[in-house]
Symmetry: C2
Subunit: 243 residues, 2 copies
C-alpha cells in the first residue's frame, strides 16, 4: 500500500512515510442561541472516541480537495450542511497525545453562523448534531480528543477580536434592533456594555440602515436595522474598553 501510494503521487522524490502525520481540520462553529454562546457538536459514530461528542471536523479528502480551504468547506457541508459561511483559521495544534492513533495535527477554525441556518437533522453520515453552550460543553461527558481545549482557545480569540471587529454581525438576522446587537456583544464578552456608548459607537460606524420597521410588544418600539454590506466586517478604530 505504501508503494502504491508512492506511485499515486507520481513524484520523483522519496517520501519517508514516517515524516507524515495524521492531519485533520476542526471547525468551532459558534452561534447565539437562547442568549448563550453555543458551539455545534456532532456525536461520533466511529472510533476513536465513539459515542462522545466532538467538533464536526475530520481528515482532508486529498483526492477531491487540492487545498485546506476547499477541504474545510467540503467537510463543513458534509458534516453540517453549511455552505458559504464565515470562517477563519484560528490556530494549529498537535502532538503525540492528541489522538490515540498517533502523532497528529489539527487546524482549528472559527465559524460564525446563525443557528437557523443549521439543519436539525443528523448529517450525511448519520451523526446527530446539537448546539451546546460553550461554558458547559463538558457537563454531560468529556468531549472527544482535545476538543474542549480547542473550543476554549477559539472563544478567547473571538473575545479578543470582538473588541474592535463587528463579528457579531454573523449572528444577527436580516433585521434587528440595536439592542439585539448589543446583547450579542454582551453574550460573547460575558459582561454588560453601556447602552448609550454602544449605540453611539454603532450609529457612528455607518454600517446600518433603518428598515422602517420596528419591534413591537414591549413599551416603546425600537427601530429595526439591516447591515448595509454583510460582506464586510466593520473594523472600529477604537476598542471597547475593559470595563
Amino acid at each position: 500500500m505504501l508503494s502504491s501510494q508512492k506511485k499515486r503521487t507520481g513524484n520523483l522524490f522519496s517520501v519517508d512515510e514516517y515524516d507524515k502525520v495524521l492531519f485533520s481540520q476542526d471547525p468551532v462553529i459558534l452561534t447565539i442561541l437562547n442568549d448563550k454562546l453555543c458551539v455545534l457538536l456532532v456525536k461520533r459514530e466511529q472510533e476513536p472516541c465513539k459515542g462522545q461528542w466532538g467538533l464536526p471536523g475530520g481528515r482532508v479528502d486529498k483526492e477531491r480537495c487540492s487545498d485546506l480551504w476547499t477541504a474545510l468547506a467540503e467537510k463543513l457541508k458534509q458534516k453540517t450542511g453549511l455552505e458559504n459561511i464565515y470562517f477563519e483559521q484560528v490556530f494549529t495544534e498537535g502532538g503525540a497525545d492528541m489522538d490515540p492513533r498517533g502523532w497528529s495535527v489539527t487546524t482549528v477554525y472559527m465559524a460564525l453562523v446563525r443557528h437557523e441556518d443549521v439543519p436539525w437533522q443528523p448529517n450525511e453520515m448519520g451523526e446527530a448534531l446539537k448546539w451546546w453552550p460553550v461554558d458547559h460543553v463538558n457537563d454531560a461527558a468529556p468531549l472527544a480528543f482535545w476538543h474542549e481545549r480547542l473550543i476554549e482557545r477559539t472563544i478567547t480569540r473571538l473575545r479578543n477580536k470582538v473588541i474592535y471587529l463587528d463579528l457579531p454581525m454573523y449572528f444577527m438576522p436580516e433585521k434587528f434592533s440595536i439592542k439585539a446587537l448589543r446583547e450579542a456583544y454582551e453574550v460573547i464578552l460575558g459582561r454588560p456594555l453601556s447602552r448609550q456608548a454602544f449605540d453611539k459607537r454603532v450609529r457612528k460606524a455607518n454600517i446600518l440602515v433603518e428598515t422602517g420597521e420596528e419591534t413591537h410588544g414591549n413599551y416603546r418600539p425600537a427601530e429595526l436595522y439591516r447591515y448595509i454590506d454583510r460582506r464586510r466586517v466593520h473594523h472600529y478604530s477604537g476598542e471597547l474598553k475593559a470595563k
Copy 2:
C-alpha cells in the same frame, strides 16, 4: 514498512496511511538589518528544491518532540542556533501543489530576533544561512516551495499587529534611543511616522526607563532607554493611524 509503523505507534485503532499528510513547520525569522526588514533563509542541500533558498523549517521529529511547539523550538535550534526567542503561530497552509512529494501542510510562524543573535556559520546540517531583505527575496532566484507567499503573509500579519503592539521591541538592542525605536516601526510599516506623536505615545506607555547614557556623534545627544520588562509586549490602547 507501513505495518511496522502501525506496530510502532502501538495503538488499537486502524490507521489508514492515506489519511496522513506530509507536515512541516516553517518559521519566518525576521530582523532589522541595515534599515531593512530581513528574513533568515537557508540554502537547501537536499531535494526537493535543492540549491534554492528557503525558510529554516522542516518536518517535526516525532520521536523526540511530543508537541508542535517543542518541535519548532528544536528545529530552530538545529537550523539556526537560535534558542528562547519570540515566536508566534501565524497560519497553516497546505494542498496538493505545495510540495512535489505530495499533499502537504505547513504551519508558519513569525519569529522576531536581533540579527546579532544569529550565528554567521552554516548550521548543523552544513546549510548556509543568510539575511535577505523581504522585498527582494526573489531577486536572485525563486524561493523553495511556496515560501515567498508564506513570507508575504507573515509580513502582512506583522504590519497589522505593529499598529497596536510593541513588537519592534524584539528587534531592539539592550539600550537604544526613541528615534531608533521609531525607525524600527518605520522600516516595518514602510512609511514615516510623526516624530512627536510617536515619542509621546511611547513615553506615555511607561515601558521604558532612562539608562543615563546618551547617543553621541550627531549634534544633540539623545537619551538611551531600556525596556522595563522585556517579557511583555506592550499593547497600546489606540492604533497608529493610517496616515
